[in-house]
Subunit: 366 residues, 4 copies
């Protein structure tokens, strides 16, 4: 094994490029993973644009599929050569936050004190890959807390089939899980990008019987139908709030899922929510949000607003891969384009401009 | 029994006065209650000022303590002459909303459609007394859905001891119940008016071990200590957000309860909330709310925001009166001033100006 | 309209027969329903055999599909001639029990005091039709608390399509809902009669990804596959406990649903349950149960055992019919045989002997 | 530091004695704790009697209070010399079971397969101290997964004040937490040994307003009053089931907590349980249990039965110590007798025979 590897690193705003880096050492609780497939996330695009700050020289990416190259001395129950994934969020399950029920928030998150306007939106404490430590768009990835985070891939599933598990499917499904869905519910999902599409599939999988997909892109609405929407609404063709209130005979939806991170989608989600309903918010917002008084019933509507960071850990990954293995959902069509790691700059260009009906790209080291 | 009664009616903004009204007829599912004690709520003051619109001529008030004067033909299990209370919110438990788990929201609430800016904040569908139908500041009160809403007063409890149950205690406790409190939690309650004080007492009753009361009024903070706060913070004497972050070693509180209905308290509640924490909102807001991006962790903080309308029904009232009967909490000191119904205008004046350390007034018909 | 009607009445153990009875009067909160289709339940067979005692002369049956013939004076929002169903359990939603969260248990259930061996298993307080009051196997049915219990049938659904909603589907789905199912779970359902089949469908609808149907009847196992089982196990062909432990790599299932009411199924359900797992029990037992020490982990397994009585009410019925209307599940094949009310004795004979692969029969008055 | 230490080891049934043992080496994820105080548990008495099998030569005990002597190389955020406790159950929070929500069950528990009568009741997978590895009744204790399990003792709390946290308080409180207690509930706790007393305190702390303590020992009932019971019932002086049904006007209790591990207490708990109520079981049973048909409402009572193994981990311990630090509960009177480690045989004798009103003993190495 060579001592160096290729990695996509953030250099400066507007510039991510392939660099040669040293393959990291493996501590007692770590594992080194040889990446076979990874992908680019919307968050990576924010990093590229400099909208989300990371250190110059950091390897980006947080969606790893690969093979165990080397196990730390204290990691047991795995074998080198085993095919695994790791979640985009790699929690330290020994932390207070994890034991308290919030593994994605590791307790080092102290940014929202009174004076912290300056800290911007740099939360996401449990998110380490491509944020605090080197990430997955590389030939090798060092996985911390490997005992908790390495998830073996079941026999019979190829890389593409599990590529959505680390982030897209885990986040989208969490949006559905956070929506308090019960059998017979009506659920509207605002925005049908990869995460919104997974939230749509998740809502259906959890027993919602009227699943409404909302977007402005006809192609994505078509995919929404494929993955679970009973009804799709194009924001360019109707007043979505009106339409949903009509569909529900003026009652509103039981749950609304926000999957974009904008005032418009958040506000629409609230406007169609029944008293007693739940707004599950998935988006990463980039400015203050406004809650309209009427839609919020002046605070008297028995409403719930739940936010989430993508869940990680090997048990989460095991469950998501099980959904795929049991043929409940096939997300392989989510991979619309394929690139070699060497050409990742090109991949970023396609993905960030949402050209050619791209949903997700696969990226493979040499 | 006379055919008319005295009642405090809303005439026009700025004017509530005692009028003579006809005692209502009793339908098969109704009960007529002779009021022995009632009180004035902050919402009644909003009605008085014209900030919350009700029909001219409506009897105001929604916190009834009294005696069953007459039972409807289909109401069973009660006897005339029995001492009872009824909740401020008198749900129709046969409604879809109630069966769905939201009895305070009766399903006729259709105000937050896309165009409904104009409807203002007139939600609160299950709130009927002094809002949609004649209320409790009168000699007699017609209770709809009496089978569900009449709650017998246990022997040994006098009117003052149960006067907070219909609204103040039910709402305040719901704020604590909605806060997902677990043993060992730190909970901050923003505003220590009557409802905030009950939320403070409720948080302690549910196992919070660090209860922080926040207000700007020293007298109310003193009462907060009496009813359960371990720590009190005066917004005029410190930066409350800073202070709470220090008290929690920078971690933030497990739950924050908003009990006023203002941007400042809502925002502070969010700023001190830990990732994974719950903001339980009780206040009736009067304008759009802003969610600051940083405090909201850009939507990635695993936060929950829960709102509530006061729960009603005879089982709720039974439980609240049981808290008092079992000496867990004595709220009689909440009644700081006493008035006859005839002098209710004077009572409104004292209460609305929060003079003389008033918390709540009792109002007794002749 | 005639003043009398045909009804199937329990006469004495072993004898249910068609009698002429007076059509009941309609009180203010009642509705009279003209039955268009009903069915026979396993419980009715217990009544027939005298194993479950009801008063001689009582009309049996609790699964009504029909048309509103007459509405009580206090019932609003419906119209005569409207097609409706009512749940097998017709709760009084004004009761303490209903407001406390248990509408199927109306609070008059006082049978399990220390001395009550003699009361036998006559629980089921909210179950009125064909138990405490005249039931649905008749030309007309008086529905109490009609405002809460009449559920309009959506356009486009015929009688057969909704015939399982009042009891079979509501009970079976409750078994799945009570099983704490999460996405990716493995769930085993013990017994695949009509209720077990619905529990199987419900488990899949709620996101279980390995659904295991267990029975001794090959035909029913075949139906189990149709309605959602990934794996079926025939108790006559394998050691089911062993097989399930192998399927789960020795871990046990996340949830086990008991759908028969016998020691054998209850015990097997517990034996395959993982530590931390949930046993959802649906069966009506007829003798004391034994909990084996080992399977119960001596009380240290973080196990949950949940029992349930069929949920009722118009909101429940609305949700179940919505599942069917949205094409999530088609239970019409559950009706394997058809009879006129006049021939109900013959229907009982077929159904009680489980001849001819019968699952459920439909029974139609003239 | 010496290379050997004194430790209480299980030799054979009936014989625990002080032996000299080697002080263990510290691996990267371990910590070595110098014990300052420990205690004897009822389970230790089962071990002594040979009723619960452990390896001959094993150091017993699982309730450690002490000082960090040495930290493993990968353990951070602690300092040597720091006062700490560790839970009786030391979970591996990296396990599938922990990530799935059941840290006390580590997934290696595979004993309840169909054939496993022979395995007896040896569940309790997360319980390592004095069960699978050397325990706390010694001068030094090796703590595995130290990062997750070492809990710093807050300033101002002495050893006796936190001695109940590792097991007695964690288990007792879990009994209350598992009982689904809501404000206004009536809760009966069957058996008032140390764990039952903590369950009683926990039920009150969570908002139960009628707490009923049941036992046959007058002294323990007196202590029950001190720690939270509103009513105490002596099984030798009344028919407890009758008495509780009278106290609840025939309705039954909302929750019943079993804290002994016998058929009698389990059965009584079920007999007083309301429909819709929860039986929270804490006891370690030693034989099969019987569920009486009537008390179980034939499976139709919407009952829940929840079992639990003592929760562990540093966050749990932090919360429990916070309860004490905030003066919600003072359990120091639970320590009724004091012994040196050298005299532990004498301590076992007193404790196992429940002489002299013993509740718990403290045991201190040299």
């Amino acid at each position: 094994m060579s001592k160096t590897m290729k990695a996509a690193v953030f250099v400066e705003p507007g510039r991510i490029e392939i660099r040669e880096k040293t393959i990291p050492d493996v501590g007692p609780n770590d594992a080194l993973m040889k990446i076979t497939t990874t992908t680019i996330c919307g968050t990576d695009v924010h990093i590229l644009k400099g909208e989300y700050p990371v250190a110059s020289g950091l390897t980006v990416g947080h969606e790893p599929v690969g093979i165990i190259e080397k196990l730390g001395s204290a990691v047991t129950g795995y074998r080198e050569g085993q095919r695994v994934i790791a979640g985009a969020i790699c929690p330290n399950f020994n932390s207070y936050a994890a034991q308290d029920g919030y593994p994605s928030q590791d307790g080092s998150y102290l940014m929202h004190s009174g004076q912290c306007g300056c800290h911007g939106y740099a939360a996401t404490a449990g998110w380490r890959f491509g944020n605090k430590i080197d990430g997955a768009q590389a030939e090798y990835l060092l996985v911390p807390d490997a005992q908790a985070n390495l998830a073996p891939i079941p026999d019979g599933l190829d890389d593409d089939q599990v590529l959505m598990c680390p982030d897209i499917m885990s986040t989208g499904f969490k949006g559905a899980e956070n929506a308090n869905i019960r059998i017979g519910d009506t659920v509207a999902i605002f925005a049908q990008g990869p995460i919104g599409l997974c939230a749509t599939a998740g809502a259906r999988l959890l027993g919602a019987t009227t699943v409404i997909g909302v977007d402005g892109n006809a192609h994505r609405l078509e995919m929404a139908r494929t993955w679970g929407a009973d009804v799709v609404l194009n924001i360019n063709e109707c007043d979505v709030v009106d339409e949903i209130m009509k569909l529900t005979q003026g009652k509103g939806v039981d749950s609304a899922i926000e999957a974009l991170g904008s005032q418009a989608t958040f506000e629409s989600a609230l406007r169609v929510l029944k008293p007693g309903g739940t707004l599950s918010s998935l988006g990463v917002y980039s400015s203050d949000l406004k809650i309209p008084l009427g839609a919020f019933a002046a605070g008297l509507g028995d409403h719930r607003i739940n936010t989430a960071l993508c869940p990680g850990g090997k048990e989460r990954m095991r469950r998501l891969m099980n959904v795929i293995q049991s043929n409940r959902l096939d997300l392989s069509a989510m991979v619309t384009h394929r690139f070699d790691l060497e050409n990742i700059v090109e991949a970023y260009d396609l993905f960030s401009h949402q050209r050619d009906n791209v949903l997700k790209v696969s990226v493979k080291p040499g």
